[in-house]
């Protein structure tokens, strides 16, 4: 049975999405359970795949029974097995938290919402595990289109933000498609391994350089890498909270994975870091991304929008870490994909439950949160610790590898940017904790609590529903658990993913 895992990984959620869509019309109450089985199924399969990879069983899957350069094939190796588990894990946990909001805001269209939700995760899972460049484009588009629609559901400026996201996202996807076209016209094959083999003699030619540049620009645009990030803050802020806590942790991280996959498998590392002298410039771009992201987050008035700028800065971490070109940088970047997905999920879930209870996310309106919503704020503190980089949480360890990579690569600009961004994160989050801790709730603040002077007796606890708190705390504890398991993750999985030629 396990031989079929790579196929089952994508088929289970895909088939389930059709059933959910049909159930939306025939048996509406079945939608959520079906979505849950889909996510649960793909989570189990991805864990099975990770176990196979750790045991050293290579997972190659030929679709339609055709050999690679002719048919499409899936390849599960050390790099993407980890990302698979993260995606399906985040999808599964976030689905729990999505239910209260979905039941409240769009009860009639729950079927359609869960269909797009499951298709989004399917698109991401497929993108991570595929070995075919064009198939990656198709799955990229599935994730993109479902993402556009889900984001446009939000209130206020959501449709306009989603429209801008469509324009930038389509340009990015088309650049990627053009890059694949340029490689196809020169090599004649669409299979990643095959292209790499045929590309070796052509490394000097213009086409490969331009193909590389276009693909990178396309992927950076989709990932929201600093100069091309204009769509990200609005899209993730105005999206409904279950959507932003799904899209924010996953979309950018998977695109970072796609960048790493492209550079590692298709163009091969010694081309990217040897022939092309691009990586110095890219690391400096990442430095600008981190600094700019942190500063813009500092200037933000809205809590959720501040989180989106932190996501922009975190993308700078991953891209900069990878382009340092040494083993620690690579390990840090891949580990940061895992850690940052969890951290961003924890923060956006906390933001979601605050908005669910308070109705708005302006920073000024977060008064008295520690007394009214202690559990949510507790989880937010753990998430903040992880973003700042405090040891037991996982955020510290990926930052540790990134810093180590910067020191080994002698890139002190990147080191300074990382430290600067950590310090700015401290200021960002403690600004919110101060408001939540010191300022008492004003009178009649939407909640049932009454106003009072010095906050002596704590106002009534108006916590988010249990359905949102359990996943939030699962993520928070997950952050600490992953922190302690970093040794295992790096030792067993990431170390084998590093290409041999990387010094």
């Amino acid at each position: 049975m396990s031989a079929h895992y790579p196929a089952l990984l994508v088929i289970i959620p895909l088939l389930a999405s059709f059933f959910i869509s049909a159930a939306g019309w025939l048996r509406p109450p079945w939608c959520f359970p079906l979505a849950l089985t889909a996510m649960g199924g793909s989570l189990l399969v991805s864990i099975g795949l990770l176990a196979d990879v750790i045991r050293g069983i290579p997972d190659l899957y030929w679709f339609g029974g055709w050999a690679p350069p002719w048919g499409i094939y899936y390849r599960v190796d050390h790099l993407n097995a980890l990302v698979l588990v993260v995606i399906s894990g985040v999808g599964f946990v976030n689905l729990w938290a999505a239910r209260p909001t979905v039941d409240r805001e769009l009860p009639e269209k729950a079927g359609a919402f869960y269909t797009l939700y499951v298709l989004f995760v399917t698109g991401l899972l497929g993108m991570v595990v595929t070995g075919d460049a064009f198939n990656l484009y198709v799955l990229l588009e599935i994730a993109a289109i479902t993402g556009y629609a889900l984001i446009a559901l939000g209130k206020g400026r959501a449709p306009l933000a989603s429209l801008n996201y469509i324009f930038m996202g389509t340009i990015g996807a088309c650049f990627y498609l053009l890059g694949v076209g340029y490689l196809y016209i020169v090599t004649g094959s669409l299979n990643m391994q095959d292209i790499a083999r045929l590309l070796a003699p052509l490394h000097g030619s213009r086409v490969v350089t331009v193909a590389f540049v276009i693909m990178m620009v396309g992927v950076w645009l989709k990932m929201g890498f600093f100069p091309l990030h204009a769509w990200l803050p609005n899209a993730y802020t105005y999206a409904p909270s279950p959507v932003s806590s799904l899209v924010a942790p996953l979309m950018t991280k998977v695109m970072v994975y796609v960048m790493i996959r492209m550079v590692m498998t298709v163009f091969t590392v010694d081309y990217a870091f040897g022939v092309l002298v691009l990586n110095e410039a890219v690391v400096w771009l990442a430095v600008i991304a981190i600094v700019a992201g942190s500063l813009m987050a500092l200037a933000e008035k809205d809590f959720k929008r501040m989180l989106t700028f932190i996501v922009v800065a975190e993308v700078g971490y991953m891209v900069g870490g990878f382009w340092l070109g040494n083993r620690s940088g690579f390990t840090g970047s891949v580990l940061h994909i895992v850690n940052d997905a969890l951290m961003t999920l924890c923060l956006f879930l906390a933001a979601g439950s605050i908005i669910h209870a308070r109705g708005e996310s302006r920073i000024q309106s977060l008064q008295g949160l520690f007394s009214t919503m202690p559990w949510t704020m507790g989880a937010l503190v753990v998430g903040a610790m992880s973003i700042i980089g405090v040891p037991p949480t996982c955020g510290f360890f990926s930052k540790w590898y990134l810093l180590l990579g910067a020191v080994e690569g002698g890139h002190y600009g990147f080191l300074a940017a990382l430290l600067f961004s950590s310090l700015v994160n401290v200021v960002l989050f403690f600004r919110i904790f101060e408001i939540g801790y010191f300022e008492p709730m004003e009178a009649s603040h939407g909640g049932a609590s009454h106003g009072h002077a010095h906050g002596h007796e704590a106002p009534a606890m108006s916590e988010a529903p249990l359905g949102m708190l359990v996943p939030l705390w699962m993520t928070a504890l997950g952050l600490i658990a992953v922190g302690f398991y970093t040794g295992e993750i790096v030792g067993r999985v990431i170390r084998h993913a590093i290409p041999a030629t990387m010094f």
Binding site: H4, G64, K109, V138, V210
Partner: protein
Amino acid sequence: MKILGLIIVVLVGAVLEYATIDFPPLGDPASPASTHVSPRYIEKSIEETAVPNVVTSVLADYRGFDTMFETTVIFSAGVACFLLLRVPPSRRPQRASERQYRHRLTGLTFRIKGGAEVSLPLHEFERVDSIWTPYDFIIEKVCRYLIPFIQLFGLYVIAHGHHSPGGGFQGGVILGASIILLSVSHNLRIALKRMGERTSALFSPVGVFIYAGTGALCLILGYNFLDYQALAALLPGGPIMARSHGIFIVEVGVGMAVMGTMVWIFKNLASLGRYDEGL
């Protein structure tokens, strides 16, 4: 904003142009694209899948997995339009809008003020939408007779994808277009009578499910996903013919999905999600 646009456009154009210098000239048969992977498709297509139309065999068999996700893209676009636009009946404002009726025989139109209840012999009258659509006898009749043949041609295109250019997508679009023609020539309500929202909303998941289901069936029968030779156990003819049949079933699935989605998207877009009056 315009100057920025110009600069970016010129810059990107130059970069793209820079690469074309190394491209093989147009149509040269020895270019890598034509010599590496595709010769096998052309030479072995008949042998392996008994489908003369190589594009269909590559589309549905060699790279069948791609096409499955392509159909999923269409399906997700349909669901997305529904999710974004459809105004659930419970939420619509209940004020009675003024209504217009036209007497079938004489062509006279009556306008009923909002809220007024009038008993009219409905079989003689037909409802006219507030956006006055020019009632044209010729168009209505011509379309009425034309649509069945369009649909027949659509089915032909789906079924004949093996031997002539065509296949699931093209056939599905033609079928969808026939329903859209009906709602354009008449009005949306008649089209809804022919193909309700629920049927079109169920056509697309069922269509894509046929595609993915066949693949899963091959999985259950022990072969890889979408490996149609597994169907030899169920269908007559050897493994080669099973591939051809497999491709045909998949084309039917795609046709259904595309038709359902096209109609569904059109209804949502045309009536802005209210399903009361169309174009």
